[in-house]
């Protein structure tokens, strides 16, 4: 380090080399980025225990979402999917981009829970039903000691409902992940449009 500092101080182009080194280093880090899009966790986790079924995905109960992409040009932010908005506008949905050919959304619960149902508000709830996703895969996941375990996997094919409710019966679940199959670009359902996701269950412990 001392030699580097001396070089910079004495060499007529020392500061230029330092600047270039910083820019190149920054550029390498920039090019190596593979960001995962996630929302922040805003709220406290629901108390233990709580009677009855609650929506554990809600941002008001400490839920957060991770997504593969979201439509940044139209700002269809993933947070809309867990905002518990009763009558959302067309803006207030999570939507992916066409380039994302394997879109997914993962709800992370604030507390470990027994998940009974997953309820979705798909495109048809507010828009043309032809945009409603028909094929997707719901997974209940549990994280233990740094590893993520699959608790249950439920494949859905040929869905025609705008707001389907899927019984799951996943025990001790930390995350619920839904992976979608999208149509080729330019066709309806080439992007995911999700107005709301609810993960209904009972809290059993800490994550």
């Amino acid at each position: 380090m001392r030699r580097i500092v001396e070089f910079i101080a004495r060499h007529p182009w020392g500061w230029t080399w330092l600047y270039l080194a910083l820019v190149v280093g920054g550029l390498l880090q920039f090019l190596g980025r593979r960001p995962t899009i996630q929302t922040e966790t805003y709220a406290v986790a629901p108390p233990l225990p709580e009677d009855g079924e609650i929506n554990l995905a809600s941002l008001y109960r400490g839920g957060s979402v991770w997504v593969s992409s979201f439509d940044t040009h139209h700002l269809h932010h993933p947070l809309y999917a867990i905002d518990e908005r009763a009558n959302p506008t067309l803006l207030e949905k999570w939507a992916t981009v066409q380039a994302d050919r394997e879109p997914w959304i993962e709800v992370r619960l604030a507390r470990r829970a027994d998940v009974h149902r997953v309820v979705l508000a798909l495109a048809g709830a507010r828009e043309d039903g032809v945009l409603t996703m028909i094929d997707y895969d719901i997974q209940c996941l549990r994280e233990e000691q740094g590893e993520v375990w699959l608790v249950r996997d439920l494949a859905i094919h040929g869905n025609r409902e705008s707001s389907p409710s899927h019984p799951l019966e996943c025990s001790a679940t930390d995350r619920v992940r839904i992976g979608f199959w999208v149509a080729p670009e330019g066709q309806p359902r080439d992007v995911v449009r999700l107005y709301e996701i609810q993960v209904l269950g009972e809290v059993v412990g800490d994550v």
Binding site: L22, V23, L27, F30, Y42, V44, G62, D83, L91
Partner: protein, 624 residues
């Protein structure tokens, strides 16, 4: 043996200017040679090693120097270095003032065309404009700023602090314009470097250029690249043929190509250089410059291929949208005279007349510099969509060509033969006793004798014709007979001082014109947006501005959903912060009990939702 060489400026060159620098000399050419006039003090004759392109170092003997064509890039010295350093310091000072004043942005493009895409690439969130959806922009400048954002993040900077870091970086980098201007001024203005100094000060102190220095616009980056490209080109033009290599044109091409890469419309600066090479039949230089441009083009082709899936995709989309479809006209159409009237004359005022007069003086000596700003002005004026920033790159050439004309006039006056005046001041117009190359003692002695006699007269000492020296003939004194230069030391000093005053006047008028720009636009909104982002309980924010007129996710530094404030979203509890500026919206929000007015930042008022909020994982406190 050095010999006079034909050069486009029809000026002879003089040997190493180290003595010039110590004494602040001005070189003037006479019919029989060049001589040095010192503006400040007498320089003692000293042995100097003259450099000849033909025969290497040549001793001048006891006094005088060799009159050899010299590469203008070699002229320099301590005085020039001090002047250049002063220009850099003053340039930094004025730029820092504009940096401190401007806390917002000049144009949304500086956020959404370069910073926001970089934010998106780094974090996965960012509001991408249509250009980055359709592929009408390349990723080179966003990549550069992304690299800087990574560097800033190493220091823990994010949001508004990161934004200011990028602006400060641009301020510092913009200082490289000053040595470029110096080199242009020296190349076109004369071998003594005074033209370079004037050019350096003109660019350093130009308020208009200082205003744009912090902004993360492609025009700011293009300004640096075009100015340096032209500096290297004009130095080559001024260089005697046979000195320097053809490879000197490679960086010219690279820089011009890079300028086009960062801003495609800067292609208007390319033809002049290529045509000049053609007219001078410098085909090797032409080839190297084209190669340089091709290298830059190859880079953008590769980057587009990697990012958009097709080589030169962004260039083709740009051409299709702007040239074929004229899509830019939806953003506004301005009359053809807008750039000349509203921008140049509007920002310079009477200074435009002063510059124009200077350019007209001896325009044939710096016609290239005049063409450097006139041709792009005409080309850009033909496009219907106009914005003031599009013309930024011409300003250094505009200033330098005007100032250079006055300096050329001063030199011309000094070169005129006048009747000898016995009262000609000798104390200040102390000339170095330059002589021709001392290849023969007899010749040198004769020169010594002439110099002594002329010094006693207090007149200018002339140099003999080097050509005659080369032939071994007698030296011909410029002071044969009773002729001598009347416009000597004091006259030159006053003349140079007047040129300085003209420059000061031009800059003063420009300051007035620049002050009519919005110096602090969007600052209140930016401050408010940044303040909201620092609040731990913020889950979303509505802004009283269109989506493309705010600081974006770059300024937020967080993955917070934001949207334009509209009342069908006001009821969504996700948007628990609102920033309003329009009085009617402020009044409407104040009437709503659901919101509490938290803070006023200039014209922006921040509201927070009272009900429908969330129980936070940590207690919120209003951070400053």
């Amino acid at each position: 043996m050095c010999e006079n060489r034909r050069n486009p400026h029809k000026q002879d060159y003089i040997g190493p200017a180290s003595d010039n620098a110590l004494t602040g000399g001005l070189v003037v050419s006479g019919p029989s040679g060049s001589r040095l006039v010192h503006l400040f003090r007498r320089s003692k004759p000293k042995e100097a090693m003259a450099r000849s392109p033909d025969s290497g170092p040549i001793s001048t003997g006891k006094e005088g120097r060799a009159e050899c064509p010299v590469d203008p890039s070699q002229a320099g010295g301590r005085g020039l270095a001090i002047g250049l350093a002063a220009a850099l310091l003053l340039g930094l000072a004025i730029r820092l003032v504009f940096f401190a004043i401007q806390r917002g942005m000049h144009h949304p493009d500086e956020v959404f065309q370069y910073l926001e895409p970089a934010t998106w690439r780094i974090h996965g969130y960012g509001w991408l404009s249509w250009e980055f959806v359709e592929g009408a922009r390349n990723w080179i400048l966003p990549g550069f700023y992304g690299a800087l954002m990574e560097v800033g993040s190493w220091a823990g900077l994010k949001g508004y602090s990161l934004y200011r870091f990028l602006q400060l970086h641009n301020v510092l980098v913009s200082l490289v314009l000053i040595p470029a201007a110096f080199r242009i001024g020296r190349a076109v203005g004369g071998k003594d470097g005074l033209g370079g100094l004037f050019a350096a000060f003109a660019v350093a102190l130009c308020p208009y250029l200082a205003f744009f220095a912090p902004h993360t616009l492609s025009e700011s980056a293009g300004l640096i690249l075009t100015t340096w490209a032209y500096a290297l080109w004009l130095e080559e033009v001024a260089r005697p043929r046979g000195t320097g290599g053809s490879l000197a044109a490679l960086p010219v091409g690279l820089l011009l190509g890079a300028a086009v890469v960062v801003r495609y419309s800067l292609v208007v600066f390319v033809p002049l250089v290529l045509i000049d090479y053609l007219l001078r039949r410098r085909f090797r230089l032409l080839g190297w410059s084209v190669l340089g441009m091709a290298c830059a083009a190859a880079v953008v082709g590769l980057v587009d291929w990697l990012t958009w899936g097709e080589p030169f995709h962004s260039a083709m989309e740009y051409y299709r949208f702007n040239v074929v479809e004229r899509g830019a006209e939806i953003y506004g159409v301005l009359p053809r005279g807008y750039y000349l009237n509203d921008v140049l004359i509007g920002r310079l005022g009477v200074g435009a007349v002063l510059l124009g007069l200077g350019m007209a003086l001896f325009f044939w000596r710096h016609w290239r510099l005049i063409a450097a700003w006139v041709l792009p002005l005409i080309a850009l004026s033909l496009m219907k969509h106009k914005e003031e920033r599009f013309l930024l790159s011409i300003w250094p050439f505009l200033l330098i060509s005007g100032v250079n004309g006055y300096l050329a006039f001063i030199r011309w006056l000094a070169e005129r033969p006048w009747k000898h005046s016995p009262k000609t001041s000798s104390s200040l117009a102390l000339c170095q006793r330059d002589s021709m190359i001392a290849h023969g003692g007899q010749t040198g002695d004769r020169q010594e004798e002439e110099s002594t006699r002329n010094s006693q007269r207090g007149a200018m000492v002339s140099d003999s014709d080097p050509k005659k020296d080369h032939e071994g003939g007698e030296s011909s004194s410029y002071l044969d007979g009773d002729r001598s230069v009347w416009f000597s030391g004091w006259g030159l000093r006053i003349g140079t001082g007047l040129v300085g005053l003209v420059l000061v006047a031009v800059l003063a008028f420009n300051l007035h014109g620049t002050s009519r720009l919005e110096l602090d636009s969007f600052a209140d909104l930016f401050q408010a947006q940044a303040w909201v982002s620092r609040q731990a309980d913020a889950t979303g924010v509505l802004l009283d501005e269109p989506l493309n007129i705010n600081g974006g996710f770059t300024l937020l530094g967080r993955n917070l959903p934001f949207w334009r404030l509209q009342f069908d979203l006001v009821d969504n509890p996700v948007f628990n912060y609102l920033v309003a500026q329009q009085p009617n919206i402020v009044r409407a929000l104040r009437r709503r009990r659901a919101f509490t007015e938290l803070r006023q930042i200039g014209s922006a008022i921040v509201f927070r939702r009272n009900t429908g909020g969330i129980e936070l994982s940590r207690q919120p406190e209003l951070l400053p």
